[in-house]
Amino acid sequence: MNVIIDGWALTQRNLLRLRHEPGTLLTIMLMPTVFVVLFGFVFGSAIGIPGSSNYREYMMPGMFVLGAGTALSSAMVDVAMDQARGVMDRLRSLPTNRVSVPLGQSGAEGIIGAYGLVVLMVYGLIVGWRPHNGIGQTLAGIGLLLLFRYTLAWVGTYLGLAIRSASTAANLAPLTLPLTMVSNAFVPTDGMPFWLRTICEWNPLSALATATRSLFGNPGAPGPDAAWPLTHPVAASLLWAGLLLAIFVPLSARRFARAGL
């Protein structure tokens, strides 16, 4: 019970920050705007999707995945900054459960992520993307995206705790972008060289993008020769999320408990 109370108090801490820096909310909207234009219209005119004439229908789920991916870098930078400023020391000197600080961080990321996803979906509707499979599957897709964002926030929290240095974390943050790009989020994997295709198809974010597409009824279902995660995308996404949480929740708690040693 205390874990929940503490976790919620820490979630509020992260959300309160946003209230004083509404600019952050604008920044959260800015990147998707640039990307939707860049991919949807600039690159999109040159990318062909087998079995579909509408690249933007294919692209938007990739964009949602990219949005979920930002949780990793933002949690990493936030946590590293807390460490550098000594806020973590104060938290660690309190009788809080060791898991509640990472819990608050990821909780806030989850909530901010819901807002980011709403913004992206509105953009999607504007540029012609639609969910086609009815309310149930659409909600399932949204739930899956939020679950993944939450999971990636745990990974980022662990990295932030491990890195400690705020500037190193800030320098590493942009690297998470190519990480989400080496997947089928924006281009199908069919035409890739075998080694790259293998990497991309086993990238957890590819499973997520494929699952999102199938739940929303958007084009781009991979062929039967694709790797297992892409032919069973929803199951694979859930497995990936479960696996990552099973690894990074205890790891973050342990790292938090020992951060000052």
Binding site: N2, H20, R85, V87, R90, S93, P95, G260
Partner: protein
């Protein structure tokens, strides 16, 4: 050890090749301010970090409020408060929000957290600035806010790691007043400092730490009387030197040193009072331009205890998250 609220035995801490604590023995009774005095790099922060469960000792034992810091850190955290060298609040939240969140985390319940925060803000003169972002606070205000945050739960033991280092005189005085109030409440305070004056003002017992070891312990008065003070006299002209020197030697029992028209003499026990010095000099016919008693500094403490001054060559290390 029974009556000690903070107790350490052969406490050791090693960071790679650096030995920060070489075997620290402390036995601090409850309800007083204990001053841990030492130069930069002596091991003060390391001691505080171990006692507040932020860092694990490499060897030895440490007990706070009856709980072993290594075996029962959770219990230790319930009885301590910590205000460090750096302010440790969220710059992007207002003072009130910070206190509300940290109050919740201290298991106060939201109503009580709010009430306690208001009470402390009022008491420490920050109520008017409570809705400002902590990041906009001056150095002194931040330290006070930090102190308030560590007091939310009325801890039995409060650790203050160099609470006034880097502050201006006024802010320093305000922190001192705060600490005095705390002891009146019955809190045990472990205060670290680089200033002899500070521990003299606040602490009733002092430990001098150097290279991770306790090298002296006692009351501030004992420590000071061991080291003594300096009397400085400037005579009007060198004609008056001999008279003045004779008076000073008679009063202190020490041989004065002369530099031009400036006379300095050590005064250990007893230290004559300023009016007495002036009267006697006057009676001797020496015309003086200036006279003063200089209190001993940390440098003097070290000179007297170790025969050397605080090592100026020592790097002033400050790993951001640690020092």
């Amino acid at each position: 050890m029974e009556e000690s609220i903070i107790y350490t035995k052969a406490l050791r801490k090693q960071y790679g090749d650096v030995v920060a604590l070489t075997g620290l023995d402390l036995a601090i009774p409850p309800n007083l301010v204990y001053g841990l005095l030492g130069p930069n790099g002596a091991g003060k922060s390391t001691t505080v970090r171990i006692l507040s469960t932020l860092t694990r000792p490499s060897g030895g034992q440490a007990v706070v409020g009856g709980f072993d810091v290594a075996r029962e850190p959770g219990e230790v955290r319930k009885v301590i408060g910590l205000a460090g060298q750096d302010a440790t609040l969220d710059d992007k939240l207002t003072a009130r929000e910070n206190l509300r969140i940290f109050g919740r985390l201290s298991r106060l319940g939201s109503r009580r957290a709010r009430r306690r925060a208001e009470e402390l803000l009022e008491r420490f003169g920050l109520a008017h600035a409570g809705n400002r972002l902590a990041g906009t606070y001056s150095g002194g205000m931040r330290r006070r806010l930090d102190l308030i945050a560590s007091l939310l739960r009325a801890p039995a033991v409060l650790f203050l790691d160099e609470p006034t280092t880097g502050l201006d005189v006024r802010s320093r005085m305000e922190i001192w007043d705060t600490v005095r109030e705390l002891v009146a409440d019955g809190t045990t305070v472990l205060l670290t400092s680089q200033y002899l004056e500070e521990v003299d003002q606040l602490a009733s017992a002092v430990g001098v730490i150097d290279h991770g070891q306790l090298i002296a312990e006692g009351s501030p008065a004992q420590l000071k009387s061991r080291i003594g003070s300096h009397i400085d006299v400037v005579v009007e002209s060198t004609d008056h030197l001999l008279n003045a020197m004779a008076v000073l030697e008679r009063l202190t029992g020490h041989r004065p040193e002369v530099d031009g028209s400036h006379i300095a003499v050590a005064a250990v026990d007893p230290v004559p009072s300023l009016p007495q010095i002036v009267r006697e000099l006057d009676a001797s016919g020496a015309v003086i331009r200036d006279v003063g008693i200089r209190e001993p500094s940390l440098d003097d403490v070290f000179l007297s205890l170790t025969g050397k001054t605080v090592d100026p060559a020592k790097p002033v290390e400050a790993p951001a998250a640690v020092a």
